[in-house]
Amino acid sequence: MSVKQFRPAFDRGFHNLTFGLAMFVLVLLVAILAFLVVGSIPVLKNQGLGFFISAEWNPVTDVYGALPAIIQTLITAVIALLIGVPVSFGIAIFLTELAPAWIARPVGVAIEMLAAIPSIIYGMWGLFVFAPTFGTVIQRWVMANLAPLPVIGPLFASPPMGIGIFTASIILAIMIVPFITAMMRDVFTTVPAVLKESAYGLGCTRWEVVYRIVLPYCRAGTVGAVMLGLGRALGETMAVTFVIGNSHRLTASIMGPGATISSSIANEFVEADSKLHTSALVTLGLTLFVITFIVLAVARLFLLRLKKQAGH
């Protein structure tokens, strides 16, 4: 075989190899989805769509409802965002606008390290270190001062044990901050210096520059970052399982125990011996996939808009 014949053949081969592997990724997800769909048939057949709106979760009578898990998954993720996004935003501003390079670099690395700590370690730390501190210091105060309030009081009522939906949300917030910060920092640095300089030249304060120049310029990218953080918060398993208190009950209190989709799976899957119980947990998994899918789709849309903006 001559060299000339060999080259295009090899080129095609390499092209096909990479294409084939890309298709493999597709097949993999389809296979996982198929696995989840097949696994969720028994409970959906048995309980129909009522599965998604029922709050009853009773392994004794084999009746399962996903509503508390779905709602509390969303609540923990949203609270995590409410805490995590402003913090990430502040850190990103510090890193891009305030700190000199010799501080920004080590601080940036330190924040990224938070992303590198395995989730089981967040769980252990949350249960043995953070929750007792949180329970005795903060929750006692909350109980004494916020819980007696009318209307919003019930939101905070719970024994001060440091475990519950709010604790899980805080741990989640710590876990997503490095992700969101890193993405925000990257989009903030894309703001042309000339824009900021002109604003300063007009007499804008630093906050005005951030709020009126940087943020609008990076709006789409910022939303994309938040959405990715949300995706991560929705799927987190081990850390949440340790600290959320794992109760399938709808409660008014965000301080009380709850359960997310992934913590339910982690908690109960190994012990689920009835077919319906197993199926109910797999269906929860499928539900989480759908939620993640929607969140990512929204994030993609915003990122696309960012790309279009950057193109102009």
Binding site: M113, T237, A266, F269
Partner: protein, 301 residues
């Protein structure tokens, strides 16, 4: 940071009427408040890291000794270490790396080089992002059905495959991003010399993106080395020396999980020591990845 100079001018601006002065003071106070908050939350973030590391060292350091690296995981009340778990984790993470990273790299190559603008690529990208945030316990269940049940027993192989599936999307994502950073002018210059596409990719793109690709690989390794849930149903765990990949295999995360939840003090301190080991290893990898990236940007700069 290049924009700091104009700030001084701002403060020196002439302010005339009392109303304007008041307005100006208010704006400055608002700004100062927000900037102080930015400092504070940064401090908070760093403090959290310090707090976590502090607890890990405080609880785990006392259990760190030579035995940790020379003896097997003990039953309660016996002397022991984590050797089998460390070796098992290294082997499974190693194989997952060998399986997951080349595949991920090639998929990333397809997305960035051959199929950058094709429809199918955007589908693959999207699918990959879903895989990236899929709860790892579901991946474990999937591999259990796919590998453990047909094989008839738990095995290190199954654990490695589960970890590879988790590593894959991380590598795809980072290698595509890194390859896209390579300027097209490099590729065009090489193409103009008549070099075939695959050699351009190998010798130009991969070389230019080298440190970035390495970073992606390290991030993937960091991600999978702490995974617990997917190993519970695949490699199980092993109390003894277990270098046979065809048998249940010891691993650090599951040992940490079991020991941390036990009533025995010696088990708990081993769990903390294991947690400290994993964290240090993963932090080390992350720092290595950062240093490589920094070296690359210096080269460019």
């Amino acid at each position: 940071m290049s924009v700091q100079a104009p700030v001084k001018q701002t403060t020196e601006r002439q302010v005339s009427t009392p109303y304007q002065r008041r307005m100006y003071m208010r704006r400055r106070i608002v700004s100062m408040f927000h900037m102080t908050m930015a400092h504070l939350v940064t401090l908070l973030g760093v403090a959290m890291l310090a707090w976590i590391l502090w607890s890990l060292f405080g609880e785990g350091f006392s259990a760190i000794s030579v035995k940790l690296f020379t003896e097997m995981t003990p039953p309660p009340g016996s002397d022991g270490g984590l050797l089998n778990a460390i070796v098992g984790s290294l082997m499974m993470v190693g194989i997952a790396t060998i399986l997951g990273i080349p595949v991920g790299l090639f998929v990333g190559t397809y997305l960035a080089e051959y199929g950058r603008y094709s429809k199918i690529s955007s589908v693959v990208r999207f699918i990959n992002d879903i895989l990236l945030s899929a709860p790892s316990i579901l991946i474990g269940l999937f591999v259990y059905e796919l590998v453990v049940v047909p094989m008839g027993h738990f095995s290190g192989y199954a654990g490695a495959i589960a970890l590879a599936v988790i590593a894959l999307p991380v590598v795809v994502r980072t290698s595509e991003d890194m390859l896209l950073l390579v300027p097209d002018s490099l590729r065009e210059a090489a193409a103009a010399l008549g070099i075939p596409r695959w050699r351009i990719i190998m010798q130009v793109s991969y070389r230019a993106a080298g440190p970035g690709l390495m970073t992606g690989a390290l991030l993937a390794v960091a991600r999978i080395s702490g995974e617990t849930a997917p190993l519970l149903f695949t490699s199980l765990n092993n109390q003894f020396w277990s270098a046979n990949l065809n048998k249940p295999m010891a691993n650090l995360p599951v040992v940490i999980f079991n020991f941390a939840m036990s009533p025995y003090d010696d088990w708990r301190s081993l769990a903390w020591a294991g947690a400290l080991l994993i964290t240090l290893a993963v932090l080390g990898l992350t720092i290595a990845a950062r240093t490589l990236l920094a070296a690359k940007s210096r080269m460019k700069g």
